[in-house]
Amino acid sequence: MTDLLKIMEALADRGRREEPPVVDVSSRVVLRLRSEVPRPAWPMVFVASSAVVAAAAVLILSFPFIEMLTDPWSAFFVIAANVVP
C-alpha cells in the first residue's frame, strides 16, 4: 500500500512538470465583460439636460406663488378674478 502511495506521489511529481495548453482568452474576456457589465439606463447627457428642463419648468410654474409672496394683494385679486365667474 505504501508503495502505491509512493508511486502516486512520484506520478504527481512528474505530472507537475507538464506544460499546460497555451490559452489566450483576453479578447473573449473583454468582449464578455462588455456584454455583461450593466450600462446606465439613460446616457448622462440626456439625464442632465432633462434635469435642466425640469428645473426651468418648475421655476416658471412657481412664478405666481413667488409673486404671491412678494405682492400678496395683487396676486389675490388676479386669482379671485380668474376664479369668480
Binding site: 500500500m1 502505491l4 502511495l5 508511486i7 502516486m8 506521489e9 512520484a10 506520478l11 504527481a12 511529481d13 512528474r14 505530472g15 507537475r16 512538470r17 507538464e18 506544460e19 499546460p20 495548453p21 497555451v22 490559452v23 489566450d24 482568452v25 483576453s26 479578447s27 473573449r28 474576456v29 473583454v30 464578455r32 465583460l33 462588455r34 455583461e36 457589465v37
Partner: protein
C-alpha cells in the same frame, strides 16, 4: 494599495476599475498562463480549460473593487481560480449523479512513473483523484499537484487550517482505500 502589488498591476487595476477594457486585457494577458496552468488541474479538456480561465477573469473583474492589494494580484487570482475550479467539479459531480453513473476507469499505476511522460503522469493522478468527492479532490490536488502547504490551501480555499488538516487526513485515507480496492481488483 500596498507595495505587494507591482506598479504595472496597480495602474492596470485602477484603470480597469474606471472602465478601461484595454487595461484589463493587459492584466488578463499577463496572468492567463499561470491561471491556465492552475485550471489544468481541474480539467483535461482544452475547451473546458479556456472556459474556466475565462470564468476566472470575468469573476475577478466583478470582484476587483474588493481587491485590497495586501498580497500580489496573482495570489488573489489563484483564490478565485480555486473557487471557480471547485464549483466546476461540484456542478459536474451533480450532473453526473443525475445523468450517468460513474464509470470505473482503469488505473494503471503499475507502470513505473519514470516510464511515463509528464502528461501521462498528470492524467493518471487526475483520474485517480476524480474518484473522490470534490472537497477531497481539491485538497489533494492542491497538496500534491500545486505543492501547497496547509496554510496556502487554507488561503486558497477559504477554509481554516484545522479544517484543511482534517480534510487532508480524510482524503488521504480515502485515497488509500481506493488504491487498496484497485490493487485487490488485480491491476
Amino acid at each position: 494599495m500596498a507595495e505587494a502589488v507591482s506598479e504595472k498591476d496597480r495602474l492596470d487595476i485602477t484603470a480597469s476599475l474606471d472602465g478601461d477594457g484595454e487595461a484589463y486585457r493587459q492584466l488578463v494577458q499577463r496572468y492567463q498562463g499561470q491561471v491556465a496552468a492552475q485550471m489544468w488541474r481541474f480539467t483535461r479538456d482544452p475547451v473546458v480549460l479556456e472556459e474556466l480561465v475565462e470564468d476566472v477573469f470575468v469573476e475577478a473583474y466583478f470582484s476587483l473593487k474588493g481587491f485590497r492589494g495586501r498580497a500580489p494580484f496573482l495570489h488573489w487570482l489563484r483564490r478565485i481560480a480555486t473557487r471557480v475550479g471547485y464549483h466546476y467539479w461540484k456542478s459536474k459531480a451533480r450532473r453526473r449523479e443525475r445523468e450517468e453513473p460513474l464509470t470505473e476507469t482503469i488505473l494503471e499505476l503499475t507502470v513505473a512513473p519514470d516510464n511515463r511522460t509528464s502528461s501521462e503522469a498528470a492524467e493518471a493522478v487526475f483520474e485517480l483523484f476524480a474518484r473522490l468527492p470534490a472537497s477531497d479532490r481539491l485538497v489533494l490536488t492542491l497538496f500534491y499537484l500545486e505543492e501547497c502547504d496547509t496554510e496556502e490551501i487554507a488561503s486558497r480555499t477559504g477554509w481554516n487550517r484545522t479544517l484543511v488538516k482534517v480534510r487532508l487526513h480524510r482524503a488521504r485515507k480515502k485515497l488509500k482505500g481506493i488504491l487498496n480496492d484497485s490493487s485487490a481488483g488485480g491491476w
